[in-house]
Structure formats: structure tokens, C-alpha cells
């Protein structure tokens, strides 16, 4: 897998610092996990953070903190709440997402369906898996917010280039694009999106009310 489109550096640095909201952390994280180049960049930011941790002025902690920590260590670990797992036989769901609860597939337009990913509710962005039929031409659209897209299977192209498995696409409200899905098969993407999708043109206005992305 040759990855040719990566997240911008400031997004990677925010990811490394744990600053991104959940949907963005997820999409950037799945890209990074499959991209040695971005893994190196994230590790470099983690190293800088380690240096910052060594240099920061220490702040006094609770006087009984060490004893409390030792007694918590010797208790049996509290049961962590096991998240509901997506089924293993679910071929839509990549391994990195198996820990998430993923909603039912919903058809949003001809040749286009999505499955919402349940997040904790923090932040403005929603995350979903988007599946589009091979060769389909998505309606021209603009965004009112940002859109982070990671290709999992198949491919699409738009004015910004060709995007195959592992590629990351970053769109904001300045981007107006009209992706065309490759003919080799359906295109499955992991998407984090804030704001709305605005369909342009006559057909867009016609089906717009039904496209609840």
C-alpha cells in the first residue's frame, strides 16, 4: 500500500498531544497506525513532549498520594467497562474500529450508504463509515465545517488528486469538490465531519433533504 496523501503536520501534532476531538482523533489515528511516515512524526512529537515533561516545574501532589497509589496497585484492578464490539464477521469494519459500537447501515442516496460510529458525545464532529458504489460520481458539494476522510477500500479522485487505501483527505469550507469513485470496486471511507454537507445544483437541491449526512 503506497500512501501519497497524509494529514497536515499540525493535525498530527495535535493528535500526538491528545488535543483532537474524538472523531478526528479516530480518523487521524487509523491513518497513523497504517502509515510508518506519520508514525515517525507522531513519535517525534511524543519525544518533544517527554522533554517537556522532564523540564516542567513540578507541582506538589497530595501528601498521601504515594500510599494511595500503592494501595490501588495492590487491589484487584477495577473492571474496565468493556466496549461493545463490532462483530468479527462484519467485513465493513476494519480491525482498528472493532472496539467501537457501530450503527446500522443507512442508505442516504443512490449508491451511497453510511454507518454511524458511536462516540462518547464529546466534540462537534460525527464519525461514520461511508460506502459508495464503484464508478459513482458524488454530487458536487461544499462544506460548512471540516471533513476528514480516510480511504479504507477502493478509491476516489477529485481536483486534489487520486485517493487510494490509506490516503487521508482534508477538506474545509474553502473546498468545493466532486469526487468520482474508482471503478475497481466500492469505496469504503472512514469520515469525521463537522457542519453540514451542502449539495449544489438542481439534483442536489432535489435530493438534499434526503441526504442526512
Amino acid at each position: 500500500m503506497t500512501i501519497s496523501h497524509h494529514p497536515p503536520e499540525d493535525l498530527l501534532a495535535d493528535f500526538a498531544a491528545g488535543k483532537l476531538e474524538e472523531a478526528h482523533q479516530l480518523v487521524v489515528g487509523v491513518h497513523v497506525a497504517g502509515c510508518p511516515r506519520c508514525t515517525r512524526f507522531v513519535q517525534a512529537i511524543e519525544q518533544l513532549a517527554g522533554a517537556a515533561l522532564e523540564d516542567v516545574a513540578p507541582v506538589p501532589i497530595a501528601t498521601d498520594a504515594f500510599d494511595r497509589v500503592m494501595s490501588r496497585i495492590h487491589e484487584a484492578p477495577k473492571e474496565a467497562v468493556a466496549p461493545a464490539l463490532a462483530s468479527d464477521t462484519d467485513d465493513d469494519v476494519p480491525p482498528a474500529l472493532r472496539k467501537y459500537r457501530i450503527g446500522k447501515r443507512r442508505r442516504v442516496a443512490p449508491g451511497l450508504s453510511l454507518r454511524p460510529i458511536e462516540l462518547s458525545g464529546q466534540g462537534q464532529a460525527r464519525a461514520f463509515l461511508l460506502r459508495s458504489a464503484p464508478g459513482s460520481r458524488m454530487l458536487e458539494h461544499t462544506h460548512t465545517g471540516t471533513e476528514l476522510t480516510l480511504v479504507l477500500e477502493g478509491s476516489f479522485s477529485h481536483e486534489g488528486g487520486h485517493f487510494g487505501p490509506g490516503d487521508f483527505d482534508y477538506g474545509d469550507d474553502e473546498v468545493e469538490h466532486r469526487p468520482i469513485v474508482g471503478n475497481e470496486g466500492p469505496c469504503l471511507c472512514l469520515v469525521a465531519m463537522t457542519g453540514d454537507l451542502r449539495m449544489n445544483g438542481f439534483l442536489g437541491r432535489l435530493i438534499g433533504p434526503f441526504v442526512r449526512l
Binding site: 503536520e9 482523533q25 508514525t39 515533561l53 501532589i61 477495577k78 458525545g121
Partner: protein, 181 residues
């Protein structure tokens, strides 16, 4: 002090003295860094304590060949902070408790595990090639999460310079890492 060595002693023999020295050094610094990154005092204290519990429990996972001790401890604290903030969101809705689980391994659905490569030396050398002022803006902006206008005031430089310096530092880091491929 060789922190990696102390972590190794915790991993192999549950060495309480070694752990205490790690605790005394890192717990107050984790609390300090978390306060700078926007946590309140109670959250920073909880993250500091939970991080040290995870250091004890995960000591056997630490690989000194791929990560420095401080960077490794930072990643644990960062993941716990993400987890704490999500729990707080859920607690607001469901009125559940806020205390972090002591076994963060199983409770990190949001944490994509990044496979640790064997690039430690290369990453260290890339960081050393950043200028002092470049690594300082990266640290202030991304790790201490200070807003750009505050960084401008602290460094006595114009706001536009802060933004361009951060961008240059990021691009340079990427370039150096790519060059050495």
C-alpha cells in the same frame, strides 16, 4: 538518573524503592504538565496518580530501545487524560462515577495503538536538528496548549511570527524525518 533502568527494576521484580523514585520525580511533573495543558487541580492529581499506577502495571511493556522513559510516561498520561475527559462527558449525561479505571489497557477504545518502530535513533537525531526556538514553539503550542497570542506575549514576538514559526518547525521536522529514510 537512569529512569529506564528503574522501570526495568519495577518490571522484573516489582521493586518498590525504584518505583518510589520514579513516583517522586514524575508524579509532580505530570501534575504540572497537566495543569499547563488545561486540567483543573483535581483532574491533574487524578491523572498523575493513575499514570503512576499504569507505569507499575505496564512496566514490562516499556522498551527502552524505542522510547525514552519520559516520552513513554507522557503517552500514558495523555491517554488517561483523553479517557478522563470522555468519562466526564459521559458522566454529565449518565451521572456515573469519574474515577479512572486502574486497568487503562482495556478502557481505551479511542486509543489507536501505534506500532512502535525501530526508528528511535533517527527520531532523536531529527529532534536535535530543530533549533531551540523551533522546539520551544512546538512545545508551547502543542504540548502546553498555549494559545498563539499568549505565546507571542511570552516570547515577545508578533502573532504572525508565532504562526509562521510553528509552521516552519513542523515542515522542518517532517523534512528531516523524510530525508533520513
Amino acid at each position: 538518573m537512569d529512569w529506564a533502568d528503574l522501570i526495568g527494576r519495577v518490571a522484573s521484580g516489582g521493586d518498590r524503592e525504584a518505583f518510589k523514585r520514579l513516583f517522586e520525580h514524575f508524579a509532580p511533573r505530570i501534575k504540572g504538565l497537566m495543569l499547563k495543558a488545561g486540567c483543573n487541580a483535581e483532574e491533574a492529581e487524578e491523572i498523575a496518580q493513575s499514570t503512576m499506577i499504569a507505569v507499575w502495571r505496564k512496566a514490562h511493556q516499556f522498551d527502552p530501545a524505542t522510547a525514552g522513559a519520559a516520552a513513554w510516561i507522557f503517552t500514558i498520561a495523555r491517554n488517561l487524560r483523553i479517557d478522563l475527559f470522555r468519562r466526564r462527558m459521559r458522566a454529565d449525561r449518565l451521572e456515573t462515577g469519574l474515577e479512572l479505571p486502574d486497568a487503562p489497557d482495556q478502557a481505551e477504545p479511542a486509543d489507536i495503538l501505534i506500532s512502535r518502530g525501530q526508528d528511535a535513533a533517527r527520531i532523536a537525531s531529527a529532534i536535535q536538528q530543530l533549533s531551540a526556538e523551533q522546539s520551544l514553539v512546538v512545545r508551547l503550542s502543542f504540548i502546553e496548549e498555549r494559545p498563539h497570542p499568549e505565546i507571542a506575549r511570552a516570547l515577545g514576538i508578533p502573532l504572525g511570527t508565532v504562526k509562521s514559526r510553528i509552521r516552519l518547525a513542523m515542515n522542518r521536522l517532517r523534512d528531516i524525518l523524510d530525508e533520513e529514510a
